[in-house]
Amino acid sequence: MSESAILLTPLHALHVELGARMAPFAGYDMPIHYRSGILAEHLHTRAGAGLFDVSHMGQARLDGPDHATTARALERLCPADILGLPPGRQRYTQFLNAEGGVIDDLMVTRPLGADGRLNLVVNASRKAVDFALLDAALPADVRLTRLDQAALIAVQGPAAASALARLAPQSELAAMPFMSMRPIQFGAFATQVSRSGYTGEDGFEISLAANEAEAFARRLLRENEIEPIGLGARDSLRLEAGLCLYGHELDETIDPIEAGLAWSIQKRRRVEGGFPGAGRIQRALADGPARRRVGIRLDGRAPAREGASIVDASSGKPIGRVVSGGFAPSVGAPIAMGYVASAYATLGAPLALMVRGKPLAARVAPLPFHPHAYHRG
């Protein structure tokens, strides 16, 4: 009998050296936090710049004879407008199943100067499913290449741009628009950089060769503003930013409309369809979905966690469930996201969350919980 061994990212030795508390995540041994702890790492990311190892995520490339062919192939699996994606730009979308449920959410990027190529970043926990889906669905003239020899490092926070620009002073990094991608040379390190992230802050996601990642990360950490941040703070940051995490806000039974992701389905695709579950999506857009993802603020200080039942505040009748919850360091209070019947999905609507057998008073709150600070330049 064989055990599958835990996987390591190219930065594993560095995490251990920095004193990280490690734990398995999606088959990888990952840093949950370093010596500062989750609270300090979270707050630092919003004040300075945090460095995140996200090499466990699935990077891949599609190559076809021209952009239209590759884009159309991908559009058969996702509801975003990929055909209209300009060179050097990035879009957020989902792979959908026949019922319109989300198989995974992902970033799609059209690199500059490589006609017919699209770069994909998918969730670590879903990459096997995603790559099998692509293998089965792609036409003969579009090839999928998994980029298993690539590392991915995110640098997020208000100081990210200035710290990184210091390492690439002749580059266009500081002026990159939000959701764009450029090749950037940091000294000897050749990288592909997108201006995007998962924290609500300005930030960059940097792809480079796995065998250069440790040296690059060490170089970044020498900049005063940049501190290493673990998965614990990555989760609290994205929760405050109101962002979905696959397996929580998204799964195969949830469609993008009820998840509040209609904004990621551009107009042409809403009208034309041509993606799995298009009928359900179009109906939900026309009539409104039966349930909706909402932000939740609790009246007290006790957190509510994923799985907690949401009940009607007066009758106690179950009306939904919490999919993510915890303490929000920048808000200074417990927050949650959940799904409720649409009748309850109005801002300020009173709810109760069942925690340790007791109903805790709460209310529907606006998302994000902490304002986004994306680069608008």
Binding site: R21, I32, H33, G37, I38, L39, A40, H42, G232, D235, S236, R301, A302, P303, R305, G326, F327, P329, P334, R356
Partner: protein, 125 residues
């Protein structure tokens, strides 16, 4: 000098007369990380040894604090209610959670003293 005893679940009880001051060990607070919420027992609550007495919550998860001995809760620490991080800063001092009037001193014999607890921690590493 109040004697201190530890449980395998990393609670401590520091006994002075027939009242024990209960909290979680320094090892426990390190494992849990930054604490953000404490649910205290009610004053007057009767607890059996091993029963859930309190809950401490970190950013990521909730953790039960079990009564190391049976008795009646005679005081709870308002300071950790207001400032859960006190438990991280000073788990054995200002970070105490509740005080319990012991029902049966003999229960202390089953708990670990300081050096036995330290040896126990080494087996966990």
């Amino acid at each position: 000098m109040p004697e201190i005893r530890f449980t395998k679940d990393h609670e401590y009880v520091r006994v002075d007369g027939d009242v024990g001051t209960v909290g979680i060990s320094d090892h426990a607070q390190q494992q849990l990380g930054d604490l953000v919420f404490v649910e205290l027992p009610a004053v007057g609550a009767k607890l059996d040894k091993g029963a859930g007495a309190a809950v401490v919550e970190s950013v990521k998860a909730a953790s039960d604090v079990f009564a190391p001995v049976s008795g009646v809760v005679v005081a709870v620490n308002g300071e950790v209610d207001a400032e859960p991080g006190l438990i991280n800063q000073d788990a054995l001092g200002r970070g105490w959670i509740f005080k319990i009037k012991l029902a049966d001193r003999k229960q202390l014999d089953a708990l670990m003293g300081q050096s036995d607890y330290e040896a126990f921690l080494k087996t966990l590493a």
